[in-house]
């Protein structure tokens, strides 16, 4: 602590006035600044050049001095002076934190990463808009807006451009809007991610199949890599077609296939299952026999399948088996007994 510098009345008054305008600062900070000022006032008074001028002429109004001092020292501007305002510790430490070199460094990094965020938020904005649609998998990687990838690409271009332009210009008035937009995009993306994770994967083994679980799950039809299976044609090792074959899976459960809805001849058909002794149709006996369906004569237009024809003489009863590439086995194998039809 220095020895008390020579002070004059004027200097005292000046000091007090400046102290008033620094009232909201921390004790230590204020003390340091005032100590500097006291020293400065002493130095000024000893300088011959200043002998003629008063302190106010040399240094300006105490309020102005205090304001300029704060500004140069990186301190927040005061509230215009007045009696020492009540200390608000958290604003002061917030201000101190804000000025800390570390936080300055981090803000600098944030500024450098800003352009990447602008691009990303443009992409996410479009993504979120289409994310509401049920078939989400279609929108990876390029969202289909109104069913078109091209429109989606265009939409992305527009949003990214807008996002970058706004980001670069940093319009003062838009600041609140952009902050709100950023928050919405981030939250929306988080919600979307959580949803996707909770519901399982997007896309599946047999091409793109949505695995969204409904509250009443319809039974999963048998699928091969070519699509849904709606019939099975068994043959024995000699290439003889088999009928009434009962099939079970590895867990002993009956194997069920899907139901074919459409035929090339446009007829309506339904599978007809053999009946067991108790009268229950056996749905896992293969091959399925699809028989033409009889429609009522007075059925209205809406009851009929839109493109189907009723079971008239023009619909074939027996659908021929498709040609199959049967392998030829060596004679020793496959003398299996024929199953009873």
């Amino acid at each position: 602590m220095s020895a008390t510098p020579t002070t004059t009345r004027e200097a005292e008054a000046y000091l007090t006035a400046v102290r008033r305008h620094l009232g909201d600062l921390g004790e230590d900070e204020r003390a340091e600044l005032l100590e500097d000022l006291a020293q400065h006032l002493a130095d000024i008074s000893t300088d011959e050049e200043n002998a003629e001028s008063g302190l106010r002429a040399l240094l300006g109004d105490p309020a102005d001095y205090a304001a300029e001092l704060r500004s140069a020292a990186g301190l927040p501007p005061g509230d215009g002076g007045g009696p020492e305002s009540a200390h608000r510790p958290w604003t002061k430490s917030a201000a101190a934190l804000w000025q800390h070199p570390r936080s300055l460094g981090m803000r600098r990094i944030g500024k450098e990463l800003a352009p990447a965020w602008w691009v990303l938020r443009g992409l996410l904005a479009v993504g979120l808009v289409v994310a509401g649609s049920p078939e989400r998998w279609r929108h990876i990687p390029i969202p289909q807006v109104y069913g078109s990838r091209l429109v989606g690409l265009f939409a992305i271009g527009v949003t990214v451009l807008v996002s970058v332009v706004v980001g670069r210009a940093g319009y003062r008035g838009w600041r609140r809007v952009t902050v709100v937009a950023d928050v919405v995009v981030v939250l929306g993306t988080l919600v979307l991610l959580l949803e996707v994770l909770a519901m399982g994967y997007v896309g599946g083994p047999s091409g793109y199949r949505e695995s969204v679980v409904y509250s009443e799950a319809p039974p999963r039809a048998l699928e091969s890599r070519h699509g849904e299976v709606t019939n099975i044609y068994p043959y024995d090792a000699q290439g003889r077609p088999l009928d009434g074959v009962l099939l079970f899976d590895q867990d002993g459960r009956p194997l069920r296939v899907g139901r074919q809805e459409w035929w090339p001849d446009r007829c309506d058909r339904a599978p007809s299952h053999p009946l067991a002794a108790d009268g229950v149709p056996v749905e896992f006996a293969y091959p399925y026999r699809y028989l033409p369906v009889e429609h009522d004569q007075v059925a209205s237009e809406s009851d009929r399948h839109p493109t189907g024809r009723s079971g008239t003489t023009t619909c074939l009863e027996e659908i021929p088996r498709p040609p199959v590439p049967l392998p030829v086995f060596p004679p020793s194998a496959g003398d299996a007994p024929q199953p009873a039809p």
């Binding site: 602590m1 220095s2 020895a3 008390t4 510098p5 340091e32 600044l33 100590e35 500097d36 000022l37 020293q39 400065h40 002493a42 130095d43 000024i44 300088d47 002429a57 040399l58 240094l59 300006g60 102005d64 001095y65 205090a66 300029e68 001092l69 704060r70 500004s71 140069a72 020292a73 990186g74 301190l75 000025q99 070199p101 300055l104």
Partner: protein, 117 residues
């Protein structure tokens, strides 16, 4: 010296570069507050305000670009001297480079404008 009003262009410019001016002065020789003010004015920066210099010294010190020490004196008060350190030198070098590039850019803009006019 009264700090000039913000309406004058040079005082606005000065606010931007006062940091490097102060660092450069202190780099040449350690100094205390009024000493730095006088040296800046002697260099030709007549408008620099005392408060600005003191505030800048304080801020540079807090940001670690300057160190300070007290010199005791029998005749007068103990003075607080400021000295430049490694961080300050680096900052000064980087800022000088930025300043030079900026000045060059503005010169280019001005000369282009002259041709256009």
């Amino acid at each position: 010296m009264v700090a000039t009003s913000p309406a004058l262009d040079t005082s606005q410019l000065l606010k931007g570069v006062l940091d490097i001016a102060v660092l450069a002065v202190v780099r040449d020789e350690d100094g205390y507050g009024y000493d730095v003010v006088r040296r800046l004015r002697a260099c030709g920066l007549a408008e620099v305000g005392d408060a600005s210099v003191y505030g800048t010294l304080r801020r540079l010190y807090k940001n670690g670009a300057l160190t300070s020490y007290v010199v005791p004196s029998e005749s007068g008060p103990h003075r607080k001297y400021y000295a430049i350190n490694r961080t300050g030198r680096d900052l000064l070098a980087a800022s000088t480079k930025t300043w030079r590039e900026f000045a060059e850019t503005i010169d280019t803009v001005l000369s282009t404008e002259k041709e256009a006019a």
